[in-house]
Amino acid sequence: MSVIRLIAVFSENKVGQLSKLTGILAENGINIRCVTIATSEKFGVVKLLVDQPEIAWRKLQEQNLTVSWTDALAVEVEDKPGGLHRIAEALARHGINLENSSGFVACRRAILLVETSNPQEARRVLEEERFRLLTSSELMAI
């Protein structure tokens, strides 16, 4: 399966909230591969890509954090000018709206994490357009 599961955590936008979350992960030896934080005025959602998602999810829930799974696609991007543009252009052509995305470069590979309201359709489009989608284990192996 090339759909990546992220853990979304609801958080109040105040001092100490992120450190509570990161503390729980550190204590349990969970490595964060990618993190994004989206905030509104008073609250935010932290999304995490971690190496041991099931354990992380359980530990966070045990500590009374509000967690949810959320799906994303990991797309390999050419690490050169215009690389991201090709993906954005392909998705736009098929009328797919991105909800939340983030990119990172690790070991000379550029990865875009894409969240959309319709991941199945996005996957179909990206595969059709010959983009490479990474599975969870491929992503973890980087």
């Binding site: 979304a8 009374n64 509000t66 939340n100």
Partner: protein, 430 residues
Amino acid sequence: MFWDKSAETIDRSALEKLQLTRLQETVGRVLKHVPFYQQQFAQAAIPSDVIRELADIRRLPFTTNADLRAQYPRGFLVGDGGGPVRLHTSSGTTGKPKAIFFSRGDIDRAANLAARCLVMSGNTDRDILQNMMTYGLFTGALMMHYGAEKVGMMVIPAGPGNSEKQLLLMQDFSSTVFHTTPSYALYFADFMEKKGVDPRRDLSLKRAFIGAEPYSEETRRKIEEAFGIEVYNSYGLSEMNGPGVAFECAAKQGMHLWEDHFLMEVLDPVTNEPVPEGCPGELVLTTLCREAMPLIRYRTRDITSVVAEPCSCGRTHRRIRRITGRTDDMLIVRGANIYPQQIERILMSVPGVGRNYLICLSGLDEMTVKVELSASEFDGRVERLVHLQTQLTERLRAEIMVKPLVELVPPGSLPPSEGKAKRVIDNRAL
């Protein structure tokens, strides 16, 4: 199903005759024994034979919460035979409590009224009541306890809080009924969810009596859904008998108020004139059978209205609607009169909202409503949270005419309400 069919279905003219006789006896009794009422009558030059018909009640003075506190500890106690066998107090958040006395006969009558309520809502001697109200000075648990024993139910006097123990008792002794406050019922529902207990599958619950705090129809539905049970609304106050003053029958369309024991008036709280039947006003009650501590025209401060139509269950005692607020709960924010229950009603009707909330007033009339998110509705999308926040703000503004600041907070982050919930914090610098 009736506990006392002839009393519960008495025809209205016989009931009114009974009320008149009992009112006359009550007035005679307080004038003979209670200095407070002797003074009140003397000051207003009210003759001792003032009551010729029921409408004459309007010539009598009121008794208020403040009067009860001022006469603490024994000012309202009748000292003759039928003397007290029990003291209860009514919670005073500040200052002195109110002392409430019961004679042996008073306790027996209170238990019989509670038994009427229990049978009316479908209980039999095969039911098992887990009583989660506070035992002690508060009347909430004991009067229901006695009523249930009269019916022959098995009572588990669990008392409040200690959710682990509550769940254990519920599982091991197959409780079919529980009695608690709306805030604890919601808290306990969350607790069960966390424990992975599905009440429909794992428990034997059939119904619950929820009272001691006003709550909305939406909250009732939330509790019914969370437990898979029928929830019956219960109205009472320690100054009268505690629980069982008024209660819902199977129709769940308002609470039958036991008019052979209490004379009810619904008055405009400002003019003190009766409101037209069916319109909201302050409930004012006169005890008709109390020996140790009769009260005349006691201002409950609870806002309700009378259901005028007869009930399909056959009981002739009129019903009152759900308490929509207390005259002293009313908040005035930016000139608007707001009852916390209006806010609760909106919050509980919007999907995505959890089970706890807090209204904070600060600065110069700023209102913040903190709302717990529902853990099961969180899907990780900020857009949805922003939408929920906007939706709540708009719906609250339409209801209360004041635009509050709505803050979404994580489930379980507001102060847990194992007893009576504190829903309003007023820190205004006014």
